[in-house]
């Protein structure tokens, strides 16, 4: 109760400032504005600046905040209207998620998707974070992607395909992570309950959403 009330207070303050972030971050849009103001001169020299002439400022603010705190541990994969994509290594995904919850006010996970990349020998797990309590974030989705090592002959739970669980930060990932474990064989360390969820108990084949599991007749 206490925490939610204090959240409400901060939320109420924000519209008065007419700025998306609190005082600490309101300094940040200022450095962003400078490059846009000087863009006509800079853009001629730098080709990457040309590609992103109209990056949405609010979304860029979120991405910059994460980069500022984590440096080269996190990289921006895209900034689109209402969507920010961040790529992090498996060692820092837990810290970035904690930062997203405590500082950026994301409060739950919409979806957790596992994507298999056999060519890279990696499996990507993508968390889509969203917020109910912060009205400035109601349109936003933060896409937090991290990758686990992929084994050719998986033994789910007993091979190197492991990631830290975010269950202690976002309780809402509980069933999603169970699903990713059974469908792609990514074991989540620290998850209290890594049992099967949708697949039958006696499933002994490859994790079915891996690309080398083929549907019969296809």
């Amino acid at each position: 109760m206490m925490s939610s009330e204090s959240e409400k207070e901060t939320i109420e303050k924000k519209p008065e400032d007419s700025k998306p972030f609190d005082d600490k971050t309101s300094e940040k849009p200022a450095p962003d504005k400078n490059p846009t103001a000087t863009k006509p001169t800079v853009a001629k020299k730098l080709t990457p600046a040309k590609e992103e002439p109209e990056l949405p400022a609010f979304e860029k603010g979120i991405a910059d905040k994460i980069i500022e705190n984590f440096g080269d541990k996190a990289t921006i994969s895209f900034v689109k209207p209402d969507r920010v994509g961040i790529k992090v290594g498996r060692d820092s995904v837990h810290d970035v998620a904690e930062f997203a919850r405590d500082v950026l006010n994301y409060d739950h996970v919409d979806s957790v998707a596992g994507v298999d990349y056999p060519a890279d020998k990696e499996i990507e797990v993508v968390y889509h974070l969203s917020s109910y309590t912060d009205p400035t974030l109601s349109r936003q989705i933060l896409e937090l992607a991290t990758r686990a090592q992929r084994e050719e002959n998986p033994i789910p739970g007993n091979d190197a395909t492991k990631l830290p669980s975010l269950r202690d930060i976002f309780y809402s990932v509980e069933f999603h992570e169970r699903e990713v474990f059974e469908m792609l064989g990514v074991y989540f360390e620290g998850h209290p309950d890594n049992r099967r969820l949708l697949l039958p108990e006696d499933w002994a084949d490859l994790p079915p959403l891996r690309k080398d599991f083929r549907n019969k007749g296809r």
Binding site: D107, V115, H128, T133, E174, L198
Partner: protein
């Protein structure tokens, strides 16, 4: 059983011996293709473990083998009563990847179809909720009134339930002649009918005494567990994707969201019913604002290829926010399609609602989650 050191009459029964494990489902009519493993101490539930997966069909895997258009008929199968809404985020995502621009008229028709479908779904859900509570009138009435809207959708799409109506670039076919008048008449009658449900069901003291103050989900828990839709709004969080992140033409339409604060089974069962009245309002407004003529569909190339990248789209379905994450690698088939379905997201709340509750309240609490087992399993 009794300990030999204690005199007769003072034997203490261990809690472990009192607790009984019950398997509810998967064939039980009160669970619907899923199993809930509950442990009961007398009449009270002390542990609950939902076990979905009995109707898992691998929709996400199937989507990796078919192109963006061929995916449409099978992706709506997880919840055929809400088939327009489950396709909606997929179609929005595919449009972004294929770079298609939808015409204004198609957007309005999509909204009308999606709202009609929301009502069709909710009526079906309500019918089963009625029979769960032993209220057979509440089974007959929604099942009958639902036909009105199914007729309308049949006129629009040609199919009663599995419409396959939305396609990337618009909708499959235009409305039939004179649809607006028929739709307005049916929707007005439908709204009049559902208002009568108040007397027989929602203001019924028996329903209220059975569902009020049972299965309470607090506001903090609703947010922490990431619940969505009617479950979230019954716990006092005003979050509806149609309002917060309007897609297509929802930002031009006039409607309200329904929020209740109590977070009990009664609130969760009342919100979908109130939402249906808002749906009627949306349909009437959309019929008025809709462009009366024009193209409804962009011509697609055969086997269109998606742009490199990923997209996450979400919409508000009959049960809550429904997200679709599509990864494309410049091939006609999507590399990965992930459906983040509201039933799956709300299921996590079930143990929190049932523990400490009487076993007799289990069916009403479970179905008040607005849960559709087939959708959760995909």
């Amino acid at each position: 059983m009794s300990s030999p050191t204690l005199p007769p009459g003072l034997a203490i029964q261990k809690a472990d011996e009192r607790i009984m494990t019950l398997n509810v489902g998967p064939q039980h009519p009160g669970s619907g293709h899923m199993r809930i493993i509950v442990q009961i101490d007398g009449d009270y539930i002390v542990a609950c473990d939902p076990d979905p997966g009995y109707v898992h069909r691998g929709e996400e895997k199937m989507a990796e083998y078919r192109n963006y258009v061929l995916n449409i008929p099978h992706l709506e199968r997880p919840v055929i009563h809400d088939s327009c809404n489950i396709l909606y985020p997929y179609v929005l995502g595919a449009e972004e990847l294929l770079g298609l621009e939808v015409t204004e008229r198609a957007k309005y028709i999509r909204v009308i179809a999606s709202e009609l479908n929301r009502c069709v779904y909710t009526m079906y859900w309500l019918a089963i909720y009625g029979i769960f509570l032993g209220h057979s009138t509440m089974f007959m009435w929604p099942a009958g009134d639902r036909e009105l809207l199914i007729d309308l959708l049949e006129k629009m799409t040609g199919a009663r339930v599995t419409h396959s109506y939305f396609i990337p670039g618009g909708i499959r076919n235009d409305l039939p002649a004179n649809f607006e008048d028929v739709c307005l008449r049916q929707v007005n009658y439908f709204e009049k009918r559902i208002k009568e449900y108040a007397d027989v069901f929602y203001e019924n003291p028996i329903l209220i005494s059975r569902t009020e103050k049972t299965g309470i989900l607090t506001r903090e828990n609703a947010i922490r567990l990431g619940t969505t839709g009617s479950v979230l709004r019954a716990s006092g969080v005003d979050y509806d994707v149609r309002k917060k992140e309007p897609y297509d033409v929802y930002d031009e339409l006039d409607f309200e969201t329904n929020v209740m604060k109590s977070g009990d089974s009664y609130a969760r069962s009342r919100i979908p019913w109130l939402d249906m009245m808002e749906s009627c309002r949306i349909i009437r407004d959309a019929l008025q604002k809709m462009p009366k003529s024009g193209s409804v569909r962009v011509k697609l190339k055969p086997n269109p290829k998606g742009a490199l990248g990923s997209v996450y789209k979400r919409i508000e379905s009959g049960r809550g926010a429904l997200g679709c994450y599509i990864v494309s690698d410049k091939k006609p088939e999507p590399y990965r399609v992930k459906l983040s379905v509201p039933s799956f997201r709300n299921l996590i709340a079930l143990p929190h609602l049932l523990i400490g509750e009487k076993l007799g309240n289990m069916p009403s609490t479970y179905w008040s989650l607005n849960y559709w087992p087939v959708e959760a399993d995909r």
